[in-house]
Amino acid sequence: MTGAAAAAGAVELVRRYGSGPGAVSALAGITLYIPAGRFTAVMGPSGSGKSTLLHCLAGLDRPTSGQVLLGDTRLGTLGDAELTRVRRDRMGFVFQDGNLLPHLSAGENIDLAVALAGRRPDGAWRAELVDRLGIGARLGHLPSELSGGQRQRVAVARALLGRPEIVFADEPTGALDTTSGRELLGLLRACVDDYGQTVVMVTHDPLAASVSDQVLLLRDGLAAGRLVAPTPDAVLAALGALSGERATGVRPAGQGARA
C-alpha cells in the first residue's frame, strides 16, 4: 500500500466514555491512514474499539482528543450542519441491516442522499450501478418485499450513487446467509477494482476480511498490526494471536458475526 494517497486518517485518536475513575477508553490514541482507492478491513476482538473507530472516522461520534481527517478536512472543526453536508456529499454508508427507510421504495432509497442535497441523480451512473448490482427489476419494491441480499445491494447502490470519497461499511454481511454475503463482498470488491472506490469495512468475519486489500488489527483501542493481501487463514491466525488464550476458533462465515 505504500505510495497510495490517504483518503482518510486518524491521529492520536482518543475516545473515552464516562469520566473519573470509571471512565472507559474505547480508543486509546490510535493513529492510522486509510489509503485511497483500496479496500480496508478493520478487525479486532469484541471491545477493541473498531466500531468506535468507524463512528469517529465517519463523523458520527466526536473523539475526546485527536484528529480525524477526510482528505484535507479536519472533521473536528466542523459543526453539525457542516458534518451533515460532509456525510451527505463525501461519504457513503452500508450497515449490517436497517439500511433502508421502510416506507420508501428501493429506487427512492437509492436516491435518498442525492435528493436530500436537492440534486438529481446522474442518470447514466445510476443505471450502471443498478445494472451492476442486479436490482433493476426490484426498484419499485418496498424493502420488506426484498431479500436480505437485495436490501444490502440497494444500500450499496445508495452509498455509491453520490460518488463519495469513502464508503463506510459496518458488518455489511452480518445479517446475510453465506451465499448472499459472498456475493455482496464480491460487489464491494468490484467497486474498488472497477471504480477506484475507497471502502472501509468493520467486520468480525475472517472470510469477509480476506476480500480486502489490507486488514487493520485493533486491540484495546490501539493499532495492533496490519495484514496486506490477507488470506482467511492469515486473518484467523492474527486474530488468534491478538486474543491470546481467548482464541476465536474457526467460525463459518455469516454466522455469529452479529455485533
Binding site: 453539525d80 451527505r88 454508508f93 427507510l101 416506507h103 420508501l104 436530500l116 442535497a117 418496498l142
Partner: protein
C-alpha cells in the same frame, strides 16, 4: 410529491402505508375539531333562525321612532308622541308597540303574562292571521297558541287584566312564548300606559325623516331599513356572545388534544428513531428531519380536522332530522364553509404546534443510532433544573391571580381572573407532571411490590414518566373542570336556596297593583290580607306593601291555589315560593347539564389520550412483554399490567383534578360573592371513581393486544 424533501416524502409515504396510525395520532384532535365545528354550526344555525325572528319591524313601516321615556304623563310618552308623529305631513299611520309583564287572571288561575300590543289591521300589524277566531277588536285580546294550549283558553272565554274583563277573540302564533302571552289592540294598550311600556313607534307613509325627527323631539328616528339592520345586528351580537362563550370550552378541548398529540408524536418518533437516524446519517440536516415531522403533523391535523368537521356536519344533519321526525320545528342546518375551513385550519395549527417540541427532538436524534450503537427512546429524564423553577414561577403567578380574582369584587371579571389562574396552574402541572408521576410511583411502590403486574405498571409509569404525565395532566384538566363545575353549581344552589328562603318567607307572596304610593299599596295589601285570611284554607298577613300567604296545614295545594287566584284575580301578582324553587332548581340543572356537555368534550379527549397512549406503548413494548412472558409472566398478568398502568394514570389524574377543581370551584364562588358552603363530597368521590374506571375501560384494546403477545416475539427479530 417531488417538491417535498426526501425526509418529508418518507414521512408521507409512511402515513400512506399505515393510515391507521395517523388516525390514532390525530384522534384527540379529531374530537376537539368536531366540537369546534359543532359550536360553529350551532351558532350559525342559531343566527339564521334568530335573525328570521329578530325583525320586528312591519313590512308596511317607513320609519321607526324609539321611545326612551317610561313616564306616561310626560311630553315624550308614547301616546302624545304618537299623536305628534301622526300630524307630520306624509304620515298615513302610526302604531306604538307596547309590551310588559303584568298579572292576568284566566279562569281559576292567575299569573304574570307577557302582554303586547298590535294594530291588528293595516300596514303596521306584524301578527300573522289567527289560527283560531279572528283579529281582536277593542276590549278583545288574542292569546298565543302555546298559551292557549297551556291554559285551555278558547275564543269566547274571557281574561281579566288591568281591572278590566277582556274577551278572547282568537288564538295566534307568536315567536317566543316561554311566558303566557297575549296581544291586545293598540288603543287598549294606550289606556294601560304606565303598566305597559312602549319602546318604539312604527310609522307608515312617505314622511320626511328630518320632519319626523323634529316632531319626535329628542328621540331617535330610523328608516325601516336601518331599523331592520339594527335588529339583525343585535341578534347577531347575542349569537356571537354565545360563540365567544363556547370558544372558551373549544379552546380547552384543543389544549387537551394538543397535550395528547404532543405525547403521541413523541412515542411514534421514539419508535422511528432508527429511521430518523438513518436519514441524518446519509445527509439529512436537523432542519430537514424536523420539517418532515412537522409536515407529518400538518397532514395528521388536516385529516383529523376534515374528519372531525365532517362528523360535526353529519351529526348536525342527523340531529335536525331526528328533531323534525319527533315533531320539533327545527331550523335548517346553516353550513358556513369559510368557518368550517377555519376549524380545519385550527386542527392543523394545533397539531403542528403540539408536534413542534417532539419534531425538534427528532432533529436532534444522533445519526450514530442508525448503526444500532445507542438505543434512544424518549425515556430521557426531563430536566428538573429548568422545569421546577418554571413550575414554581407559574404556581406563584397562579396563586397571585387567584388572590386578585377573589378580592376583585367584580363578578365576571373575577371569574375570568380565576379562570386565568386555573390555566396557569394547569401549565405548572404540565411542566411538573413527570416529577409528580415519579413521586406517585415512589409512593405506590411498597403497595405494588405485592403484585407482579402492578409492579410492572408502576415501573413503566415512572420510567416513561413524561408519557404517563401527558395522560394524567389531560385527565386532570377534564376532571378538574368537571369538579369545579360540580362545586360551583352546588354552592350556587345553596346560595339561591338561602336567598329564596329570605325573600319568600311564606308559601306565596302577593304584590298588589295599581296604587301610586307606598301608603296606598300598604292599605291595599292590608285589605287583601283580610280577604285572603277569611278563606278557610289560608292564613294571610300584610307585611309592608306585600301580602304573605301560608296554606293551612293539610290543605289541598290545588284548592289553596284556586282560592288565592279567586280572591286576587288581576288585583295583584302572586308568586308561589314552590314555583320559584322549582324554577331555580330546573335552571341550575340545565346549567349543570350544559356545563357537563361543554366540559365533557375535554374529558372525552383525555380518555382518548389514555387509550391512544397505551395502544402505542403496548405496540412499542411488544418485545419487552414477550421477554417477560418467557420469564413466566402469565397472559392474564400482561393484561393486568396494562390495566394497572391505565388505572394508575387515571387515579392520579382524577385525584389531582378533583382536588384542584374543587379549590377552583370554591374560588369561583368566592369571586362571585358566595361563600360556597360544603362541597358535594359524594359527587366528587364518584367523579374520581368513574374517571378511573373509564381509564381502565379505555385500555381494553391495548390490554387484549398485550395479552396476545407470545413469548417467541422476544426471541425472534
Amino acid at each position: 410529491m417531488s417538491l417535498l424533501n426526501p425526509a418529508t416524502r418518507a414521512a408521507v409515504a409512511g402515513i400512506r402505508r399505515r393510515p391507521r396510525q395517523l388516525l390514532l395520532t390525530g384522534l384527540a384532535v379529531l374530537v376537539a375539531t368536531a366540537f369546534a365545528a359543532g359550536a360553529v354550526l350551532l351558532t350559525g344555525t342559531l343566527r339564521a333562525a334568530l335573525t328570521e325572528d329578530a325583525v320586528h319591524t312591519p313590512a308596511g313601516a317607513s320609519h321607526v321612532v324609539s321611545v326612551r321615556s317610561t313616564d306616561a304623563d310626560a311630553d315624550s310618552a308614547a301616546g302624545t308622541l304618537a299623536q305628534r308623529l301622526r300630524a307630520v305631513p306624509g304620515v298615513t299611520d302610526v302604531a306604538p308597540g307596547f309590551s310588559g309583564v303584568v298579572p292576568v287572571a284566566a279562569g281559576t288561575t292567575s299569573g304574570d303574562w307577557l302582554v303586547s300590543s298590535d294594530p291588528m289591521t293595516g300596514p303596521l300589524s306584524v301578527l300573522p292571521a289567527p289560527e283560531q277566531g279572528r283579529p281582536a277588536g277593542p276590549g278583545e285580546v288574542l292569546v298565543g297558541a302555546a298559551t292557549a294550549e297551556r291554559t285551555g283558553l278558547v275564543p269566547g272565554d274571557s281574561v281579566r287584566l288591568g281591572g278590566e274583563s277582556m274577551r278572547v277573540a282568537g288564538v295566534v302564533g307568536l315567536p317566543f312564548e316561554s311566558l303566557d302571552s297575549l296581544v291586545l289592540t293598540t288603543q287598549d294598550a294606550l289606556a294601560l300606559d304606565g303598566t305597559l311600556y312602549a319602546s318604539r313607534i312604527d310609522v307608515a307613509g312617505d314622511a320626511d325623516t328630518a320632519a319626523l325627527g323634529a316632531a319626535a323631539g329628542g328621540e331617535r328616528v330610523r328608516t325601516a331599513a336601518e331599523q331592520r339592520d339594527a335588529e339583525i345586528a343585535e341578534a347577531s351580537a347575542s349569537v356571537l356572545a354565545v360563540l365567544a362563550g363556547l370558544s372558551v370550552f373549544v379552546g380547552l378541548a384543543l389544549v387537551a388534544s394538543a397535550v395528547v398529540v404532543g405525547s403521541t408524536f413523541r412515542i411514534v418518533l421514539a419508535r422511528r428513531s432508527r429511521d430518523l437516524a438513518l436519514l441524518r446519517c446519509v445527509g439529512a440536516s436537523r432542519g430537514q428531519v424536523t420539517r418532515s415531522v412537522l409536515a407529518e403533523a400538518a397532514l395528521t391535523g388536516l385529516v383529523a380536522g376534515v374528519f372531525g368537521t365532517a362528523a360535526a356536519v353529519g351529526a348536525g344533519h342527523a340531529g335536525i332530522a331526528v328533531a323534525r321526525m319527533s315533531g320539533v320545528d327545527a331550523p335548517a342546518l346553516a353550513v358556513q364553509p369559510l368557518w368550517l375551513a377555519g376549524c380545519v385550519l385550527l386542527a392543523v395549527l394545533t397539531t403542528v404546534l403540539a408536534a413542534l417540541p417532539p419534531a425538534r427532538a427528532a432533529g436532534r436524534v444522533p445519526p450514530v443510532v442508525a448503526l444500532g450503537a445507542a438505543d434512544v427512546t424518549e425515556a430521557r429524564a426531563p430536566r428538573a433544573r429548568t422545569r421546577l423553577p418554571a413550575a414554581a414561577v407559574l404556581a406563584v403567578l397562579a396563586a397571585g391571580t387567584a388572590g386578585i380574582g377573589v378580592t376583585l369584587g367584580e363578578q365576571l371579571a373575577g371569574l375570568a381572573v380565576i379562570a386565568l389562574s386555573g390555566l396557569l396552574l394547569f401549565a405548572a402541572l404540565v411542566v411538573t407532571g413527570p416529577f409528580l408521576i415519579s413521586a406517585a410511583a415512589t409512593l405506590l411502590r411498597p403497595v405494588a411490590d405485592r403484585s407482579g403486574p402492578l409492579r410492572l405498571a408502576v415501573a413503566n409509569a415512572s420510567r416513561l414518566s413524561r408519557r404517563t404525565a401527558a395522560m394524567t395532566t389531560v385527565l386532570a384538566l377534564g376532571v378538574g373542570l368537571t369538579a369545579a363545575l360540580l362545586v360551583a353549581v352546588a354552592g350556587a344552589s345553596d346560595d339561591a336556596r338561602a336567598s329564596i328562603d329570605r325573600a319568600y318567607p311564606a308559601d306565596a307572596v302577593i304584590l298588589p297593583v295599581w296604587q301610586g304610593d307606598d301608603a296606598a299599596r300598604g292599605a291595599a295589601a292590608q285589605q287583601l290580607a283580610v280577604t285572603l285570611d277569611a278563606e278557610p284554607q289560608l292564613q294571610a298577613y300584610a307585611a309592608g306593601t306585600e301580602v304573605r300567604v301560608d296554606a293551612v296545614p293539610g290543605a289541598d295545594p290545588r284548592a289553596v291555589r284556586e282560592a288565592v287566584a279567586g280572591v286576587i284575580g288581576d288585583a295583584g301578582s302572586v308568586t308561589w315560593t314552590a314555583d320559584v324553587r322549582e324554577q331555580m332548581e330546573s335552571g341550575l340543572s340545565v346549567a349543570r347539564t350544559i356545563g357537563a356537555g361543554l366540559i365533557g368534550t375535554t374529558v372525552v379527549v383525555a380518555v382518548v389520550g389514555v387509550a391512544v397512549t397505551l395502544a402505542l406503548s403496548v405496540g412499542e413494548r411488544t418485545r419487552e412483554i414477550a421477554l417477560l412472558r418467557t420469564f413466566g409472566l402469565t397472559r392474564a398478568g400482561s393484561r393486568r399490567a396494562v390495566a394497572a398502568e391505565a388505572g394508575l394514570a387515571g387515579a392520579v389524574g382524577a385525584v389531582v383534578g378533583v382536588l384542584l377543581g374543587a379549590v377552583y370551584g370554591l374560588l369561583a364562588l368566592r369571586a362571585m360573592g358566595m361563600d360556597g358552603g360544603t362541597p358535594p363530597v359524594g359527587q366528587l368521590v364518584g367523579l374520581a371513581a368513574v374517571v378511573t374506571v373509564v381509564s381502565v375501560a379505555a385500555s381494553v384494546a391495548p390490554m387484549r393486544r398485550a395479552g396476545r403477545v407470545e413469548p417467541a416475539h422476544g426471541v425472534v427479530g
